[in-house]
């Protein structure tokens, strides 16, 4: 009878087993990684446009890190110029237009501003005034023009009525000259989507095809992240009630994901929330929805549409989406019920406990 193994044979076996375990350990441990971020991504973040702006570029052979950094810096400069130009109360072109309007003068619309003026006018017409950039004076009255100006209680009713009526009787923005008393222009509900479009165009001109430009939650994606699609989270409007992310979306090539919610700029008074998405018809915050998300190829239109759907409210957002050519939309109503269109539903992965209603 021979012994099952001798010490001479046991040693190599132990060595091989040990190496095997070490190898498996290494494979198991290497995946999560301790390095912050990802070596295949460039993340460029900065505070501007009154929000957190993030540029994400997928690195590859054509896009080494130094090139991505250079382009991200150029892009940041472009966005800063954009912010200056489109700030309703700053020293740039739109601020000058508003000062001329406030002084009762005729304001000339400079050439570089005209295409977004035209887009905003088109959105106003199609949304039957639910989206309107002429609400600037109301935005200011409500204190939503600056995080430092938020009110403790709603402004006086007669003031709201006066400015709302001024918008109602003002001419539409269809000319290169504009004049209207008691009206100020605020492009806050379309400019970030438009800026995301411009940013993606600049990246594509630089031959960067795989990127995300996220302007305070209003984002445009292009291409992919390596060998998979970009994965976009959509925020829950009431994160303290449970999860922070409502659903996730794998993007298909180039598209915009825009969300309008009542949680970005607001104040509470006597148990009610007063937020920054004003209904131009009432001059007060739109009621009935907590958030609206729109997926569409173009950022500016998606931005305007998300506002129009929000203002249209729980009864009318689907008609509004149809009128504006939006087939992928999701809304969360005041009770927290999630409703999503048929075209968007199969693309979303919902968080646990979320039971969406699917509508045509």
């Amino acid at each position: 009878m021979t012994p099952p193994s001798t010490p001479r044979k046991l040693l190599p076996r132990l060595l091989i087993s040990g190496l095997l375990i070490a190898l498996l350990l290494w494979i198991a441990l290497r995946h999560p990684g301790d390095a912050p971020g990802d070596s295949n991504l460039l993340q460029h973040e900065t505070l501007m446009m009154g929000t957190l702006v993030s540029i994400t570029i997928a690195l590859d052979d054509h896009t080494p890190r130094d090139k991505a950094e250079r382009v991200a810096n150029t892009l940041e400069q472009l966005l800063r110029q954009f912010e200056q130009r489109w700030s309703a109360w700053g020293g740039g072109e739109l601020g000058q237009i508003n000062r001329a309007l406030a002084a009762g003068q005729r304001a000339r619309i400079p050439n570089p501003l005209q295409s977004l003026f035209a887009e905003a006018t088109r959105a106003s017409l199609l949304s039957e005034g639910r989206f309107d950039v002429r609400v600037g004076a109301l935005v200011k009255l409500w204190g939503f023009d600056d995080a430092a100006h938020y009110l403790k209680q709603p402004p006086p009713q007669d003031e709201i009525a006066r400015l709302r009526n001024a918008v109602a009787r003002a001419q539409s923005l269809n000319a290169d000259i504009y004049q209207a008393s008691d009206v100020q222009l605020d492009f806050g509900a379309i400019a970030k989507g438009y800026a995301a479009d411009l940013a993606i165009a600049l990246l594509q001109k630089e031959n960067i095809r795989n990127a995300i430009v996220n302007l305070g939650g209003n984002l445009r994606v292009s291409g992919r992240r390596g060998d998979r699609d970009w994965n976009i989270g959509i925020r829950h409007p009431r994160p303290d009630q449970g999860v922070r992310i409502l659903a996730s979306l794998k993007t298909h090539g180039d598209e915009a994901v825009l969300t309008s919610g009542d949680y970005e700029r607001y104040f509470d008074f006597e148990g009610r929330r007063y937020h920054h998405i004003l209904d131009p018809k009432t001059g007060a915050p739109a009621q009935g929805l907590q958030s609206v998300t729109v997926v569409y190829p173009e950022g500016a239109w998606a931005d305007a549409a998300s506002t129009a759907l929000f203002v249209a409210g729980p009864q009318h957002w689907r008609d509004m989406a149809a009128r504006m050519g939006i087939d992928q939309a999701m809304v969360v109503d005041a009770q927290g019920q999630v409703t999503v269109t048929q075209a968007l539903a199969p693309r979303l992965q919902f968080a646990e406990g979320i039971h969406p209603v699917i509508v045509p």
Binding site: P4, S5, L10, R13, S17, L20, I21, L24, L25, I27, A28, L29, H31, P32, G33, D34, A35, P36, G37, D38, Q43, E45, L47, G50, T51, L52, S54, T56, A147, A148, Y150, I212, N214, G216, G217, N218, L219, V221, R225, W230, N231, I232, G233, I234, R235, P239, D240, R244, I245, S248, V257, L258, T259, G261, Y263, E264, R265, Y266, F267, T293
Partner: protein, 119 residues
């Protein structure tokens, strides 16, 4: 193959399975929070270590709390507390900011996470 070999292989498989569950199961959690003040990087902090952070901003100190793999603003010298009401953040790709104070946080991690969050 001896009984010892079977035991070693079984142990190895069990170990890998346990590690897989331990490290890969929460696929959407972040590992690190990046904190910025006025667009300069203050630091990167692991979410695995519970701690409080006091971040000097334009208006004063923003307080952050890192706890059990999550992070949140607990207080900030701002009027409307949008940052505090953002709640706990735990997904890579997520971010929030106290704009009046110029303090922002973004969560980093790798694997199957969010590349960006629409809000």
């Amino acid at each position: 193959m001896t009984r010892a070999d079977v035991v070693v292989i079984a142990l190895a498989i069990a170990l890998v399975a346990a590690l897989y569950v331990h490290f890969w199961q929460p696929p959407q959690s972040a590992t690190t929070v990046e904190v910025r003040s006025g667009n300069t990087l203050v630091g990167r902090y692991p979410l695995s270590e519970n701690r409080g952070l006091d971040i000097q901003g334009r208006e004063g100190i923003s307080h952050l709390d890192i706890r059990n793999g999550r992070v949140r603003f607990t207080d900030s010298p701002c009027h409307n507390k949008v940052c505090v009401n953002s709640g706990w953040l735990s997904h890579a790709g997520d971010s929030t900011a106290c704009l009046p104070n110029g303090v922002s946080i973004s969560l980093l991690g790798s694997g199957e996470t969010y590349d960006a969050v629409s809000f």
